[in-house]
């Protein structure tokens, strides 16, 4: 049997991904044990799993270091790597939003220059240039993006919103939705051609589990 390598996003997403894969018949007991291993194997099924930071998952998949990857669609959009996006896994649902103080709403109405703080500079640029036709100055931040408008580093932010409570506590509101997000399965384009049967079988079985749920 051809070996399959699957890259997962560290944290909650990995847990949910493994639950789904286990149900679909692709378990990995090694992963449930507490260990310092970087790669987890299921020799009987010729599977390898590894955990990585979200933004690295598309990179591993693009280069073929992993055949399959599971990560958020925000990361896939931001990284814009070449890989096949084959399944919407339905979990990890949230939204990519433009947020800021209520007073910033009028800045979105005109084609004026706007300052945006974000962890997602590519998504932010895409949105303001192509959808709002607005000149944009993007400031890349690496965390606590909400600070941007509060300390007047930027007019608004582009960030992931789950419940919106962090925004509310800091006097910010959602001004617009850029897009809906969820976890996706991506596949390396060469693996798809060279290991077609195994990968299509995996996609099919995962899809069956998802449809059963729905």
């Amino acid at each position: 049997m051809e070996e399959l390598t699957i890259a997962l996003t560290k944290g909650r997403l990995a847990e949910k991904s493994m639950k789904l894969l286990t149900k679909a018949g692709y378990p990995c007991r090694e992963m449930e044990e507490d260990s310092r291993k970087l790669i987890f194997r299921n020799d009987a099924l010729a599977l390898s799993f590894f955990l990585s930071k979200g933004p690295d998952v598309p990179t591993y998949v693009e280069y073929g270091a992993a055949d399959i990857g599971i990560t958020g669609s925000d990361i896939i959009m931001e990284e814009n790597r070449r890989a096949y996006e084959v399944l919407d896994l339905g979990f990890g649902k949230c939204r990519m939003c433009v947020a800021g103080p209520e007073s910033a709403r009028q800045l979105l109405e005109h084609h004026e220059m706007i300052r945006v703080a974000s962890k997602y500079p590519n998504i932010a640029r895409e949105y303001f240039q192509n959808r709002r036709h607005q000149t944009v100055d993007i400031i890349k931040l690496n965390g606590s993006v909400e600070l941007g408008p509060i300390v007047q580093l930027s007019d608004v932010i582009v960030d992931i919103v789950e419940t919106g409570s962090t925004l509310r506590e800091n006097g910010l509101t959602v001004l617009d939705t850029v897009c809906d997000l969820s976890a996706r399965m991506i596949v390396n384009q060469v693996s798809m051609q060279m290991k077609t049967d195994r990968i299509l079988e995996l996609i099919g079985r995962v899809r069956d589990v998802l449809e059963e749920k729905a």
Binding site: Y63, A83, Y84, V86, V187, V190, Q193
Partner: protein, 377 residues
């Protein structure tokens, strides 16, 4: 000292090749070119840089921002070629305008793409390729694909797959369904990314008629052989899409005559970012690398852009990816033995030189070095 150290680095995306490592590249290129020459293709060399218009948006090659551009004294915009096909097409249109005979060219050289940094992509890469100009038949398609397979086999690679599609199938169904240009573009992006759920959403969102939805979803399926193609042909009502599948069926039969059917499969979702492709499209895949080891297709409209109305088909092999694949699969690349070393002293130089000359005349590689003496530095 530190200033000098900085001088030693190369810019991002380019690197030095030397020694045995480089010899593996040149030997691999040599092997592939043996196949090109065996099919009667002639070497062609076009300039490294050309006027911007050769690679402009209308030609449909690399996006403008990924081109290396600069100006000449007169203020013309020049571009380092990102892709050989438009250059070869321009050259053929210029020098063979009146000729109706098929032209067969092959090339090897650098292509330049100014892509984003830190993505591990080469900005200067060596490409090997071939173009068949003036033959619009399925036999032309088959010749080029067979030559590609022979070229890959010559390198020692045996486990690979050439995936063939036909853009006309997709265009035919879009035309029959009366889809607007925006929908067609969005669908093309989603399909070429194998993003099935997005395709489904798009079909629903844009109110595409039920009968065409199934035909478009069919694009996402894999086709192993002629039987799958025939089945797809029966399911579609678009004349244009049927013709596209018939063309692939003809190709399938021809490749069987070549004895190469086991290397070929069909994938209708293969749609290139180069918009000059008009008919069949193909990509070569193998284990050990994340990128195709070959890509090509038919571009019947490109030469007309340069003033010669002629069909054409061609492909290119990125040499760096090819070598990476050979190494990943532990396929030895035969490189010549190191040179014979002859040492000489001041006294016997003339004698050793005679020996070296004789060996060199026989074709051997000979290095002459001065014998180390006690007092020599």
């Amino acid at each position: 000292m530190t200033d000098r150290q900085e001088l030693l680095h190369t810019p991002e995306g380019v690197w030095d090749h030397y020694g045995k490592d480089y010899m593996e590249y040149t030997r691999t290129a040599h092997q592939v070119k043996l196949a090109f020459h065996a099919y009667g293709y002639e070497d062609i060399k076009t300039p490294t840089f050309e006027f911007f218009d050769v690679f402009s948006r209308e030609v449909g090659t690399t996006p403008s921002r990924e081109l290396y551009k600069f100006f000449d004294r007169e203020g013309n915009t020049l571009v380092l070629r990102p892709d050989f096909t438009p250059s070869v097409a321009r050259c053929a249109a210029k020098y063979f305008r009146e000729s109706s005979e098929p032209l067969r060219f092959c090339y090897e050289g650098s292509a330049f793409q100014n892509t984003a940094n830190l993505q591990g992509k080469l900005h200067e890469s060596t490409e090997l390729g071939a173009e068949l100009i003036g033959d619009g038949t399925a036999a032309g398609d088959a010749e080029v694909i067979a030559m590609l397979i022979d070229g890959i086999l010559k390198t020692g690679l045996t486990k690979f797959q050439i995936s063939v599609g036909n853009v006309e199938y997709f265009k035919g169904i879009c035309e029959a369904a009366g889809l607007d240009a925006d929908t067609e573009r969005d669908l093309r992006d989603a399909l070429s990314g194998k993003n099935y759920f997005k395709v489904q959403d798009l079909l629903k969102d844009r109110n595409v008629a039920e009968i065409y939805r199934d035909q478009i979803m069919r694009i996402t399926g894999f086709m192993r052989d002629g039987k799958d193609l025939e089945e797809a042909r029966e399911k579609t009502s678009s004349r244009r899409a049927q013709a596209a599948l018939e063309r692939l069926l003809d190709l399938d039969r021809l490749l069987e005559d070549y004895g190469f059917e086991k290397y070929v499969s069909y994938d209708l979702s293969l749609l290139s970012r180069y918009q000059y492709y008009t008919g069949i499209l193909f990509k070569g895949y193998t284990y050990g690398v994340g990128e195709p080891i070959a890509s090509g297709g038919r571009y019947d409209g490109l030469l007309a852009h340069f003033g010669k109305d002629a069909p054409a088909v061609g492909f290119m092999i990125p040499l760096d990816t090819m070598v990476e694949a050979l190494r990943a699969q532990h396929i030895p690349i035969k490189v010549p033995e190191g040179p014979t070393v002859l040492t000489y002293t001041e006294e016997d130089f003339a004698k050793v030189l005679q020996k070296a000359k004789a060996l060199r005349a026989e074709g051997a590689r000979v290095v002459m070095t001065r014998a180390k003496t006690e007092d020599a530095g």
